[in-house]
Symmetry: C2
Subunit: 452 residues, 2 copies
Amino acid sequence: MAKITPRTLSGFMELLPADQMKFERMLQVLRESYAAYGFTPLDTPVIESAEVLLAKGGGETEKQIYRFQKGDSDLALRFDLTVPLAKYVAANYANLSFPFRRYQIGKVYRGERAQRGRFREFYQADIDVIGDGKLDIMNEAEIPAIIYHSFTKLGLKNFKIRVNNRKLLNGFYAMNGMSEKAGEIMRTVDKLDKIGTQKVKQLLIDEVKMLPDKSENVLDFMAIQGSNDYVLSRLEAYRAMGEELFNRGLDELREVTRYLAAFGVPEENFAIDLTIARGLDYYTGTVYETTMTEHPEIGSICSGGRYDNLAEYYIDRQLPGVGISIGVTRLFYVLNEQGLLSDEPISAPCDALVIPMTEDMGAAVAAATALRRQGVRAMIYSEQKKFKAKMSYADKLQIPFVLLIGEDELAQGKVSLKDMTSGGQLVLSPEEAAAHVRAAVAEKNAAPVIGE
Amino acid sequence: MAKITPRTLSGFMELLPADQMKFERMLQVLRESYAAYGFTPLDTPVIESAEVLLAKGGGETEKQIYRFQKGDSDLALRFDLTVPLAKYVAANYANLSFPFRRYQIGKVYRGERAQRGRFREFYQADIDVIGDGKLDIMNEAEIPAIIYHSFTKLGLKNFKIRVNNRKLLNGFYAMNGMSEKAGEIMRTVDKLDKIGTQKVKQLLIDEVKMLPDKSENVLDFMAIQGSNDYVLSRLEAYRAMGEELFNRGLDELREVTRYLAAFGVPEENFAIDLTIARGLDYYTGTVYETTMTEHPEIGSICSGGRYDNLAEYYIDRQLPGVGISIGVTRLFYVLNEQGLLSDEPISAPCDALVIPMTEDMGAAVAAATALRRQGVRAMIYSEQKKFKAKMSYADKLQIPFVLLIGEDELAQGKVSLKDMTSGGQLVLSPEEAAAHVRAAVAEKNAAPVIGE
């Protein structure tokens, strides 16, 4: 029979078992970590009506959207988890209590040009807090604090959450009479990291058509760097200009900084960075980006911010919110590429392989049951193979323990427990073996996923 | 601004938070339960090349498939998790160890006619064991045993796993000279439950064009019911016919029955049922269906079987396997409809709500941190609202505990812990409060998801 090549589409991540296990661990840490802060899990369809999904107009993303007809329905695949959240909150407004805190971890779709490390199907792991009419500034500090704790739990160490405030930025542009050009300026300033101050200045003058001294003002402002206290004190100097929006932004930034410390986020993982703007128009207060300090080339691994109107396209209620999103697929890909994923937590399909060496499998079944009763993941090797093949199966899959049950063990009601790492072997009752394996794997599995 | 109605497509399940929490618990129980038996988690793309997905030819399902163009690619959404598994195993054959045991829990898509309780996007939770060339019969008993343990863990009690064997069936048709009509007969016999023996007999004679005595033979065979021992002994009577396929099927059925008992599956949850055939052509040995004994109208909630050739469209290797699939979305929908989901496990977004009653939130942050440190899911209520509104938030969300921190508590370094169920209140240190809540919620959360 002619075969079809079993290929997976490019831009779609599909992992081998050991890597998949690591990926699942990451998701589970995020689920538990988000849940610890009182976020409720949400799940929305991957397919939505195109009209609903594109209510806002797609802009840049519109070209990337997977959109198709089925019957006479115009459908599209979600390209983020924020639009579905807006739809959900608008549709279920009367049944929700606000602030509404939800997390969602799911796949989203963007038909980007295929490129190494760029995915067309990828997981986002989002948290958002939505208020009804109002939402306290404290949430703008709690969100990055949750990210700090989540990343720390994953084992990530060298990262920095960069925080800025859109009111502060917009206020700054207003006080310089540059409000209409603010968008263009921000897009240009965004290139600072890549092309440097001189070239950005030239672009501001040549393309944004700014006067040299005005562009100087912008670059001076963006150059304010240092400890959070220092940056805040330098910003205070602008307060006297009396630009109300700027001053409110500065107050918010100060408050967020203060609360972040209260939430236990150390200064080395958190910095005010005035160059952060976030492209999206709808951010109106605090904005976040997160970079791996040893790998700045990767760009932001987690971004978000405060918005004033989540669902204005669907509902006549003002629903301010703050949210952040981790691009989990890309983060995993990068960590794996860099060799930063730990091999410590067990990525074998089980903790112990039970190998029966007699015809009857009753004792093997009983031993596996004893293992599972103590929370040990157990598999019975039931194929009729030579002993060597059975051991090599355990070996290839890096299963940490093997339980051998031959005639001798059967006669004694025992098992031989072999530690595949040390090679050591013990004769134990099935329950003792289970307790031994349980303790040994608990230790390994307590290790964080990322071994940075 | 004109609003777009925030609607969700019909046939797509989208749950309110408390129900979603119950659904997530079901998924988590299945994940843990499958992992306990040494199945490795797998994740494959939702979108595949249409050529790959439809290699086998879609048949009945082809019309239901979501298929579309993107650029010049002909794409389709997966309609089950078996075809992606076949592709995966064929593509990664050299990197896998066999038997390959994987579980996959994910969404699949079928554009069925919208109907109450029928979903176009739904979760399947599959386990499969794939052998390379061979696969021991023991796996055919272990698979339903895992389902028994998973359902039991979920709290389901009144269910029966019905087991049959395709070799036995095909052998029976062969010994009666009805092999060419076997498919048609099986489809007709499948209606026994719905239309009864007499009407099925009439159909066999009128439509399948069987002689009356032959149709009698079929119905006599299908009528064999009773304890597994009884059914097996009645089947033994056919052994003398010397039909090799039948006899092998009978041996397998006997073996599966024996091992199921060894795996601790009680007879009331497991029955040989000769009317089970499973429509799909590729099953070649044991087949399963699972019904809720109090709700037979629901049909099978979990089905599968043994097949001889998983990936013949992709690879020139014989890869026999056995698998089973739970239609989780439909199961959840039915359980919810029937009021069979338990309210015991907490479905609030957190276990404890920390309510600060002073301006400064430092103590609230510290208390929430103490709670989380002990594994308690904690949320801080940081909105500036009246006390009553804060309490009503906890009430509406059915959060079991509230920690109040006012001037008095602040002065003592304590919190007031209020049990929202009993109304009782205690003044405790944050750590004591955390321990108290932890113990109370552990008890509730140990309750199974299904309260049948």
